[in-house]
Symmetry: C2
Subunit: 225 residues, 2 copies
DNA sequence: TGTTTTTATATTATATACAAAATACAAAGC
DNA sequence: GCTTTGTATTTTGTATATAATATAAAAACA
């Protein structure tokens, strides 16, 4: 019988391209790699101690993900993220979030409702203690659970990609992350509507929530200019 | 001054990976490559007269696109497309189409309205003559124009991917493509609402249109079982 | 015969090698 | 000084080679 060790190793195995992909994506999203920055295969490969092949494959994936742009025979560079881009993303995400919340209200399980309320309680707790890190974490968890409860994998996949873009934009343009107290109320409303499985109301609450979020970002954008 | 000739050649250049990517994607969407079918690098490379490298890169891209699945060290195979998958896609696409139509009503130019009406006229013409091929073509053009008029590149990109999946499903499961006459009326309504720049109504019409489309597909799915 | 073990083969994963194009820069010509 | 042209260098695009793993077939054993 094979030892557990080998089994674990098999499950843990990740192709280098995936590791590189994750690393580069993280670097792009956190702004460590800046928009327009060139991605040179040999340099990246050397820095990461691998050959060019997995680096290239990772770049191909990042290209599809929209995080890098390619020019034939000129190489890859970190995709620029314009205000127009982020407006486009926000517009789509609003619609996705709204849909997800409606579907979640229809399909969420009782356990998940409990979980949602728990997250919400922790969110409130952190927010009241001005714990920014914790608040953001719970905010993300809150929305992740809702997407999960929508029981729509495609929606989840698209939303993750959009979230990525927004996050990236935040890092690049808006260094600070304000945590307005009215978020609490909005989450509470969404929570209640979902718990009551009132999908129309849930969708409406989500819409309000996103519109407000959008306003914050758009206001911040205008301040930049 | 450089001649036009050299410019054209430069623009025409496409890396092999892109050519392979397009070819494989087309093959998967049209059902030439069937769900579950293995994609072996050497075979594909030989068949296409290239080395494994561009084939691998194309496969990495198809993976992100959701058209192939990978198992580490076991290779790639054409992604299965379950009924659940297509329901998920339809759910999201409904929301996207609805959003696109609303935005189009807000942002479409006068020229585009003219163009839309023209396409619609041709659509009606083909449909009345039972020209299936022409009808489908104009149907696609109709929706493409609306997406274009939404002035949202991200939306366009996502919608294209979703359309891909639906098309694939059609080919795999529903060999025939019924062209019900009431499509004409629905398109007409959308056209009118957009022309009047009445975005609420445009969105509502789009919603109706998509819901009906969904019903057709769902009905067809049920007939399969 | 059925089951395990071994071995061979096929296939992916990664690294390297080579070719072609783009870029940078210096020398020549005006 | 400015442009042009040629050359060296860098970098990508593609092909091939090597290593590691999985699959399948054959051999050994009960």
């Amino acid at each position: 019988m094979a030892s557990k060790l080998s089994k674990v190793n098999l499950n843990d195995y990740k192709p280098l391209r995936e590791v590189i992909f994750d690393t580069l994506r993280e670097a792009i999203i956190t702004g460590e790699l800046k928009p327009g920055e060139r991605l040179m295969e040999v340099k990246l490969a050397e820095k990461m101690g691998v050959s060019r092949t997995p680096v290239r494959e990772a770049i191909r994936m990042l290209e599809l993900e929209g995080l890098v742009d390619m020019l034939p025979r000129k190489g890859a560079h970190v995709a620029e993220l314009s205000v127009k881009d982020i407006m486009d993303v926000l517009e789509v995400r609003a619609s996705m979030d709204s849909l997800a919340t409606r579907l979640a209200a229809e399909r969420i399980t009782d356990e998940e409702i409990k979980e949602l309320r728990q997250i919400q309680a922790q969110f409130v707790n952190y927010a009241n203690k001005d714990n920014l890190h914790g608040t953001i974490k719970k905010d993300v968890e809150f929305h992740e659970l809702i997407y999960r409860a929508s029981r729509n994998d495609r929606l989840l996949q698209i939303a993750n990609n959009l979230r990525e873009q927004v996050q990236r934009f935040r890092v690049i343009y808006l260094k600070d992350y304000s945590s307005p107290k009215n978020l609490i109320k909005e989450h509470e409303d969404i929570c209640d509507a979902i718990s009551a499985r009132n999908f129309d109301q849930a969708q409406a609450c989500a819409q309000t929530h996103i519109n407000n979020q959008e306003k914050v970002i758009i206001k911040a954008i205008k301040n930049l200019k």
